[in-house]
């Protein structure tokens, strides 16, 4: 059970909540991922970096743990592949198109998350738990845009 299956919504959600609480209780930090990407940007060898890294780069260290967590969760049925679910059909199985698609999607994610003040973990989990009206509305906007775009992709085409 611990390493083979995916979990029910309540078990996985409980784990995510405990992780956010652990980070808050033990380290006094707020859960968030996009800040780690900004830390990574602060390491770029630019002449004058406008990025201010988090204390001790803790956000970068935090997100460096994510791939290992994903690896451990799939230990019992590891699979390494370039396939990506229903997106493969959407891009006619074309690898380059798929790569470009994800680059554009990723760019919107990064740019939008900074603008919105946080991503799904920062705004939707931590922000809402802190009772922030901004985070609640940002999350509703995330979902609204996601629902619109996905319905266009899979219902119209």
């Amino acid at each position: 059970m611990l390493i083979s299956n995916t979990w029910s919504w309540w078990a996985a959600g409980f784990g995510i909540g405990l992780t956010a609480l652990g980070l808050a209780w033990f380290k006094g930090r707020r859960l968030g991922v996009t800040g780690g990407f900004e830390d990574a940007c602060s390491l770029l060898p630019e002449k004058s970096s406008s990025f201010t890294p988090s204390p001790s780069h803790w956000k970068l260290w935090f997100i460096l743990g994510l791939p290992l967590g994903g690896f451990l969760a799939n230990l019992s049925h590891p699979s390494w592949s370039w396939l990506y679910g229903r997106l493969d059909a959407l891009v006619f199985g074309n690898f380059i198109l798929k790569a470009l698609w994800l680059l554009v999607g990723g760019f919107l994610i990064g740019f939008g998350a900074r603008w919105a003040g946080g991503c799904t973990s920062g705004n939707s989990i931590m922000g809402i738990s802190l009772g922030s009206k901004m985070s609640i509305l940002a999350t509703l906007a995330f979902l609204a845009a996601g629902i619109i775009v996905t319905n266009i992709l899979f219902k119209v085409f």
Partner: protein
Amino acid sequence: MALKKIINRFKSSRNESKWPYVLFGVLFGYFLSKSRATDYDTIVDMFLCKEFQLYGVIGMAILVTSLGLFLMKRSRKPTFSGKPFDGDPLKWEPKRLVGAFLFGAGWALAGTCPGTSLTQLGEGKLIAIFTVIGILAGVWAYKRFMPGTSSKDQVC
């Protein structure tokens, strides 16, 4: 040369153990993977409102976190070290919703958010490397072309 510069920048602010953070990252990635938030088809079905798994996951995470934060606030020792927890909510600014819409569109296109893109890499979904590069470029471009917002205006 460039690599040395990167390493030096990384070293310059090392005064706290990084391992607890890595451990929390591993836990977060583990639970994200178990929740199926890293699966493109599950994200699509969430946005098509065909499956409610991820709405439940997010809802449960919020329930547990907000309850815990509430107890922390009420407790005499708010954190392990006794240092108060910075729980200031994000300042209300309507134009942030534009960014939130862009984020939502990207979430739907790539079928992943920042946390799950990195988790996907560890799961063996190698194509996620392009999402990760895209996110880095987006974060970088925001700072470059939309200056004026400091990192203090961020939840994370």
